[in-house]
C-alpha cells in the first residue's frame, strides 16, 4: 500500500477543513472495508492525506423519534442489523445491513461508507432508496440536503463534492403495519457481493388490498430507483403470486430498458423477476 499522511480529526469541522485544504487529494476513512481494498489495488492517484473520521462521536448513532429514523454515517452494519428501532420500523434496512459481507466486515463497515462508495452492489442503498432517505452533507461552507434518489451520478460516483462529508441519513419510519423485505443473491450464502438484490415494502389496508408498494432493485441498474410501473401494478390489488410475478417481470423490463441487453441479461432478466416476486411475497 502506498504511504500517505494520516490526519485524525477531533471534530466534523476539522474533517471538513481538511477535505477543503486537500481538495481532491484526500480520502475519508471510516470503517475502511472498501477504502483499503481500493488502496491495495492502487487504482487512480494515491491519496496524499487520509482523513480519519472514525472516532467522531457526533457521526455515530441511530436515533428514532417523531416518526423518523436518523442514522449517523458511522453506524456500523452490525449495529443497524441489531438495532431494535431499525428492525421494527425499517426492517428491510436491518436485513440488508445484516447481509453485508461477513460478521467481521459488518463489525467495521459503516452505512455512510456504503452510500458514499456507491458500488452498484451496495446492500444498504436499495433499502434507503425505498425508504426515501434524505442525506445531509456538510462542508466548510455549510450544509445541504439531498434525496438519496438524486444522489448518484453513475456507479461509484455520487453528487457529493470532494470537500463534503456525509453527516446524516434520515428517513420516515415505515408505518407500523407495513412489511418489508430485502433479498440478496450472491455466489455464496455469506461473504459475497450481491449479484442482484431487491428491497421491497408492502402496506395493505384492513381488507388486505395493497395501499403502498415500493420496489428497488440492487446491482441491476446504473443508478438506483424505484420500479414505479411495477409498483403501480400492485396498488389497489390483492396480493397474489401471479400479480407479484407480473410486477417482477415489469421490474426486469425496467432493468433491460435502462442497461440494454448485456452479457448478463439472459441470466439476470428472469432471475430479477423471481427475486422481486419473492421479496413481495415475503412482505405478505
Amino acid at each position: 500500500m502506498r504511504p500517505f499522511r494520516y490526519l485524525a480529526c477531533a471534530s466534523v469541522e476539522e474533517a471538513c477543513a481538511a477535505l477543503r485544504a486537500h481538495a481532491g487529494r484526500a480520502r475519508v476513512l471510516a470503517g475502511g472495508t472498501d477504502l483499503l481494498l481500493e488502496l491495495r489495488r492502487g487504482d487512480g492517484p494515491a491519496p496524499e492525506v487520509m482523513v480519519d473520521i472514525s472516532r467522531l462521536e457526533e457521526l455515530r448513532g441511530i436515533v428514532a423519534g417523531n416518526g423518523t429514523l436518523r442514522l449517523g454515517p458511522l453506524a456500523r452494519h452490525a449495529e443497524l442489523a441489531a438495532s431494535e428501532p431499525v428492525r421494527r420500523r425499517a426492517g428491510l434496512l436491518a436485513a440488508a445491513a445484516g447481509a453485508v459481507g461477513s460478521p467481521q466486515v459488518r463489525n467495521r463497515g459503516t452505512v455512510g461508507g456504503n452510500v458514499m462508495n456507491a458500488a452498484t452492489c451496495a446492500d444498504t442503498v436499495p433499502p434507503l432508496v425505498a425508504l426515501g432517505a434524505r442525506l445531509t452533507l456538510r462542508s466548510a461552507g455549510g450544509s445541504r440536503e439531498l434525496d438519496i434518489a438524486d444522489f448518484f451520478e453513475r456507479p461509484y460516483v455520487t453528487r457529493a463534492r470532494p470537500d463534503e462529508l456525509l453527516v446524516a441519513i434520515e428517513f420516515p419510519a415505515l408505518p407500523p403495519c407495513a412489511r418489508s423485505a430485502f433479498v440478496k443473491l450472491g455466489r455464496r450464502n455469506a461473504l459475497s457481493i450481491a449479484r442482484l438484490s431487491v428491497a421491497a415494502v408492502v402496506d395493505r389496508d384492513a381488507s388486505g388490498r395493497i395501499t403502498d408498494a415500493r420496489i428497488v432493485p440492487g446491482a441491476a441498474l446504473p443508478v438506483w430507483k424505484r420500479a414505479r410501473e411495477a409498483e403501480a401494478m400492485l396498488v389497489g390489488q390483492a396480493p397474489s403470486e401471479a400479480l407479484f410475478a407480473a410486477a417482477g417481470r415489469r421490474t426486469a423490463e425496467l432493468m433491460i430498458g435502462e442497461t440494454g441487453r448485456r452479457w448478463s441479461s439472459e441470466y439476470k432478466e428472469p432471475v430479477l423477476a423471481v427475486l422481486v416476486r419473492r421479496a413481495l411475497e415475503a412482505c405478505c
Binding site: 500500500m1 476513512l29 483499503l36 461477513s102 460478521p103 467481521q104 466486515v105 467495521r108
Partner: protein, 164 residues
C-alpha cells in the same frame, strides 16, 4: 513518510511500537510484533484468516489501519491460552479434530470467541452465522461447529474468557 508511535493493548499487555500509518493491523501483528498466529490469506476481507478481536469484536485485521488501533484492545489467537493452559474453546477444537490444515483455525477461533463472549448458549444456526466470515477449504465446517457447541457447554461450566 510519517512515522507513528502506536499505544495499544495486545493480548492483555500494553504495547508501544513504532509503525507507519499505511500499515494494517495484520502487518503490525505478524511483521512488527512477531505474532504469526494470525494468518495472511486474501488481504481483502474475503476469507477471515486474519480475524482478531478489536475491543472484543471480530474484525478482519487486514482491513484495519494501525492508527485506528491507538488506545484499543487487540486479542489474537495467542491470547486465548493462559500460559501453557489452552482455553476450553481450544481444547474443544482439539478434541473434535476441528483443525485440518489449520490455516483457517486462528480465524475460526477468534470468531468463535466473539460469539461465545456475547452469546454463551448459541444455536447451531448462530454458530454457523458467526463463522460465516471465515472460509475453510478442508473440513466442511462440521467439526468446527461441533467444537464450538461443545466449548459453549464447557465454558458455562468454567466461565472462561480470553485475555485482552
Amino acid at each position: 513518510m510519517d512515522k507513528l508511535t502506536l499505544h495499544a493493548t495486545i493480548n492483555g499487555r500494553a504495547v508501544t511500537v513504532e509503525t507507519e500509518p499505511h500499515h494494517t493491523l495484520l502487518d503490525l501483528l505478524r511483521d512488527t510484533l512477531g505474532l504469526t498466529g494470525t494468518k495472511r490469506g486474501c488481504e481483502v476481507g474475503e476469507c477471515g484468516a486474519c480475524t482478531v478481536l478489536l475491543d472484543g469484536v471480530a474484525v478482519n485485521s487486514c482491513l484495519v489501519l494501525v492508527p485506528q488501533v491507538e488506545g484499543r484492545r487487540v486479542t489474537t489467537v495467542e491470547g486465548l491460552a493462559e500460559g501453557e493452559m489452552l482455553s476450553s474453546l481450544q481444547e474443544a477444537f482439539l478434541d473434535h479434530e476441528a483443525a485440518h490444515c489449520g490455516f483457517c483455525t486462528p480465524g475460526m477461533l477468534m470468531s468463535a470467541q466473539d460469539l461465545l463472549d456475547h452469546n454463551p448458549a448459541p444455536t447451531e444456526q448462530e454458530i454457523r452465522a458467526a463463522i460465516s466470515g471465515t472460509l475453510c477449504r478442508c473440513s466442511g465446517y462440521v467439526q468446527i461447529v461441533e467444537a464450538i457447541q461443545d466449548a459453549a457447554g464447557r465454558r458455562r461450566g468454567t466461565g472462561d474468557k480470553a485475555r485482552g
